[in-house]
C-alpha cells in the first residue's frame, strides 16, 4: 500500500500557494497604493471571509471526498435543497427552529448517504451519480422553495448573523470545521484510511479496509456539510433561496485542487482546502477593488490558477526525479 498521508510534499504545495499569495499581495501594494488602502482594512477582510464561508464549508467536505478519490457534483444543489426545506419547515410547516434545523440536517445526511450508496454499493461512477442527483436535488429545491422563502425567524437568523470579534458566525463555523477537519485527517486513524483508499482502492480493499463503508461515510459527511452550508447561508440572509448553490460545486473542486488535492485521490489537507478558497476569494476581491472589467477578471483569475497549479506540477516532477 503506497498511501501518501499529509507529507512534506503536500505541505510544500500549500506553502507554495501561500508564497504566491504573498507575492501577489506585495505587487498589489507596490503597483496600486491607492487601492491597497481600501483593500488592507479589517472591514474588507471581514467581508472577504464572510463571503467565502459558504464555499469554504463545501470545500472542506469536497477535500475529504477528493482525498478518498471521488468528488461530489451535487453539493451546491444539496445546499440549496436543504436550505429551502429547513426554511419551509420552520416558516410554513410551523416546526420549532431546532427541529427544523435537525430535519434539514437529517435530509442532508440522507442525500449524501444516497449518493454514497449508489456509488459504493450499486457501483455507479461518482461523476454520473452526483450529476444525476444534482438535477434531482435542484428540482426539489425549486419545487419546495419557488422564488425563495423569506422572513425566516429571528431565532434562526442569529445563527448566521451574530458576530464575535467582528466576524460573523459562518466564518467561525468554517474555521471550527477546518480545525476539526485538520485534526481528523492528520491525527486520527479512521480518517487517515481515506488517503489509502484514494491512493489505491484495490490495495486498500485487499489490506482489509472496508472501502465501501468509507466511501459511504465520505459521501454522507459531504452531504451533511453541504446541508450545513445551505442552512447557515439561509440564516445569514434570513431567506432560503432555491438557487443559492448553483455552480458552487466547481468552485469547491477548484479550491481543493489549488489547495493541494489531486483528481486521482490520496492527497490533500483541510487547511489546504480553506487556503484554496481564501486564495480565490482574495484574488477576486483585489480585482473588484481595482475595478477591473469583469471580462479581464475572468482572464486574470484563470491565468493565475493555471500558473499556480502548473508551477506546482513542475516542482513535483523535479522532486520526483
Amino acid at each position: 500500500m503506497s498511501a501518501r498521508a499529509p507529507s512534506r510534499f503536500v505541505l510544500t504545495r500549500e506553502l507554495g500557494l501561500l508564497l504566491l499569495l504573498g507575492v501577489i499581495l506585495v505587487l498589489f501594494r507596490v503597483l496600486f497604493p491607492v487601492s491597497w488602502e481600501k483593500f488592507a482594512t479589517f472591514a474588507n477582510f471581514a467581508s472577504v471571509v464572510r463571503n467565502m464561508a459558504f464555499e469554504g464549508i463545501l470545500a472542506l467536505g469536497m477535500m475529504l471526498m477528493m482525498v478518498g478519490g471521488a468528488f461530489d457534483l451535487s453539493v451546491g444543489a444539496t445546499a440549496s435543497m436543504v436550505g429551502v426545506v429547513t426554511g419551509w419547515l420552520m416558516k410554513r410547516g410551523g416546526w420549532p427552529v431546532p427541529a427544523a434545523v435537525a430535519g434539514g440536517l437529517a435530509l442532508a445526511a440522507l442525500s449524501g448517504f444516497i449518493n454514497g450508496f449508489v456509488v459504493a454499493k450499486v457501483r455507479v461512477n461518482a461523476l454520473i451519480t452526483t450529476l444525476g442527483t444534482m438535477g434531482i436535488f435542484s428540482g426539489l429545491a425549486l419545487l419546495v422553495g419557488g422564488p425563495g422563502i423569506t422572513f425566516l425567524p429571528e431565532s434562526f437568523a442569529i445563527f448566521g448573523q451574530a458576530q464575535f470579534l467582528g466576524l460573523q458566525m459562518p466564518v467561525w463555523l468554517m474555521a471550527a470545521l477546518g480545525l476539526a477537519g485538520h485534526y481528523c485527517l492528520a491525527h486520527t486513524r479512521y480518517f487517515r484510511q481515506f488517503y489509502y483508499v484514494g491512493s489505491n482502492p484495490k490495495a486498500a480493499h485487499l489490506s482489509g479496509l472496508n472501502v465501501e463503508r468509507l466511501q459511504m461515510t465520505a459521501f454522507t459527511l459531504m452531504g451533511l456539510l453541504a446541508g450545513l452550508a445551505g442552512i447557515v447561508y439561509a440564516a445569514r440572509v434570513s431567506t432560503a433561496s432555491s438557487t443559492v448553490g448553483v455552480g458552487k460545486e466547481l468552485g469547491a473542486i477548484t479550491a481543493c485542487i489549488l489547495g493541494g488535492a489531486s483528481l486521482q485521490g490520496g492527497r490533500g489537507t483541510a487547511w489546504g482546502a480553506l487556503l484554496g478558497v481564501f486564495f480565490v476569494a482574495l484574488m477576486q476581491n483585489m480585482l473588484l477593488i481595482k475595478q477591473v472589467r469583469p471580462e479581464w477578471q475572468g482572464i486574470i483569475l484563470g491565468l493565475v490558477l493555471v500558473f499556480a497549479v502548473a508551477v506546482d506540477s513542475l516542482l513535483n516532477r523535479k522532486q520526483q526525479r
Partner: protein, 350 residues
C-alpha cells in the same frame, strides 16, 4: 471494488447509469422537463368562438425552464391563456442555462408541428436558425421575454429593457434628492437586455450628475451578487448607489449593503419584485424594485399566436404568401415600480 476516479467510467457503469438515469428522468418529468397542460374546456370568449380546436397546441420554450420566476409568473399565465382560448399549452426546454439544449428543444418541437411557439431568446444568435426553420415549416413563432431580433420571428412580447433602466435611474435620482457620487451596476453583463438596461440607466443617471461605474458580473446568483457588491462597497469611494439588473442582483446587493452597515447611505434599486426583493424593500435596504409584467409575456404570447391562426382581419388576398401577419411586430409589456409606500400591496400574506 467500486471505481472512484472520474476517468474510470466503465461500460458496466453506463448500464447501471441507464437504470439510475431512468429513475432520475421520471422524477425530472415530475419537476417539469416537459409539461403539457390539459386542453381547457372552451370558454365563451370572443376568441374561442373563432373555431378554436381543442387539439391546437401552443408551446412555450425556454432554457432554465423551471426558474422560480417562470413557475411563479409565466407558467400560470400560460395556462390561463390556454383556458381562455380553449387550446392546449405546453412547456418545453432544458432545466439549466443550456443553449444547445434549447436549440434542440425548438427543433424537436418544430418536428411535432404545433400551432405556434413562444421562444425565450436566451441567445440572440444561436437560436436564429432554429426559429427560422420553424417559420419555414409553417409554424408561427414569437419571441417572449428576451428577443432574437436577427431571426424572422413574427413579434417580440416583453419588457423594453432600456425603459426598465430608465425607471430604475429615475427612482434612484429621486431618492438621492440631489446627492452626487458613484453608482455601481450589476447584472448578467453578456446579456443584450442587461446592456440595454445599463444604457437606459446611464441616460438618466449621468444627466443627474451621477457617475456610473463599469457594470460588474454577478452570474445571476444571490451569493455571487453579495460577494461582488461587498467588494465594490469596500473599493469604491463616494459610492451612493447600486442598481441591479438580473433577478438575483437585488437581494445580493441588499445583503451586502446591510452587512456593511450602509443602509440609507448607499441606495439600491433592482429589477423584479419577488418576495426576497420585497423583504429588503420593506426593511428599507432597497429603495425601489422595478417589476416586469411577466404574466403578459405568455398570456399575450398565446393570444398573438392564436390571432395569427384565426384572425378575421385580412390585409391582402393572401397574407401568408405576402408575408403580412395580423399581429403587432412588438408588444412592450411595461413595468411597475414598487417602493416602501406600495410594498404591502405586493407582499403575500404569511
Amino acid at each position: 471494488m467500486s471505481p472512484l476516479t472520474m476517468n474510470q467510467l466503465a461500460r458496466r457503469d453506463l448500464l447501471k447509469l441507464a437504470s439510475f438515469g431512468a429513475g432520475a428522468a421520471a422524477l425530472g418529468a415530475l419537476t417539469g422537463c416537459e409539461q403539457r397542460e390539459p386542453a381547457a374546456s372552451a370558454t365563451t370568449t370572443a376568441a374561442s368562438s373563432r373555431a378554436a380546436n381543442p387539439n391546437e397546441e401552443y408551446v412555450w420554450l425556454s432554457a432554465n425552464a423551471n426558474l422560480p420566476l417562470f413557475t411563479t409568473h409565466d407558467h400560470p399565465a400560460l395556462r390561463l391563456a390556454g383556458q381562455d382560448l380553449g387550446v392546449k399549452v405546453s412547456i418545453a426546454g432544458p432545466n439549466s442555462v443550456d443553449i444547445p439544449g434549447l436549440v434542440a428543444a425548438v427543433e424537436q418541437t418544430t418536428a411535432r408541428k404545433p400551432a405556434g411557439m413562444m421562444v425565450v431568446g436566451w441567445d440572440p444568435s444561436a437560436l436564429v436558425p432554429a426559429i427560422n426553420a420553424a417559420l419555414a415549416a409553417g409554424i408561427p413563432v414569437v419571441c417572449v421575454d428576451a428577443d432574437v431580433p436577427a431571426s424572422k420571428r413574427l413579434s417580440f412580447i416583453g419588457t423594453d429593457w432600456f425603459e426598465l433602466g430608465v425607471r430604475q435611474a429615475e427612482a434612484m435620482v429621486k431618492a438621492l434628492a440631489g446627492r452626487k457620487g458613484k453608482v455601481a451596476l450589476l447584472g448578467l453583463i453578456e446579456q443584450e437586455i442587461d446592456q440595454k438596461a445599463f444604457a437606459g440607466f446611464r441616460s438618466v443617471a449621468e444627466k443627474a450628475g451621477l457617475t456610473c461605474l463599469e457594470p460588474q458580473q454577478d452570474k445571476g446568483n444571490t451569493a455571487e451578487a453579495t460577494r461582488v457588491a461587498a467588494g465594490i462597497i469596500q473599493g469604491a469611494s463616494n459610492l451612493v448607489g447600486m442598481a441591479g439588473f438580473d433577478s438575483e442582483s437585488g437581494p445580493g446587493m441588499a445583503q451586502a449593503i446591510k452587512e456593511a452597515k450602509q443602509t440609507g447611505q448607499i441606495l439600491a434599486t433592482c429589477v423584479e419584485a419577488e418576495e426576497p426583493h420585497l423583504r429588503f424593500l420593506k426593511e428599507g435596504v432597497l429603495t425601489a424594485c422595478v417589476g416586469q409584467k411577466r404574466e403578459l409575456f405568455t398570456y399575450l404570447g398565446v393570444r398573438a399566436l392564436f390571432e395569427v391562426n384565426h384572425s378575421p382581419i385580412r390585409f391582402t388576398k393572401n397574407d401568408q404568401a405576402a408575408g403580412v401577419t395580423p399581429i403587432a411586430s412588438g408588444y412592450n409589456t411595461g413595468t411597475y415600480t414598487v417602493t416602501r409606500e406600495t410594498v404591502d400591496f405586493f407582499l403575500r400574506p404569511g
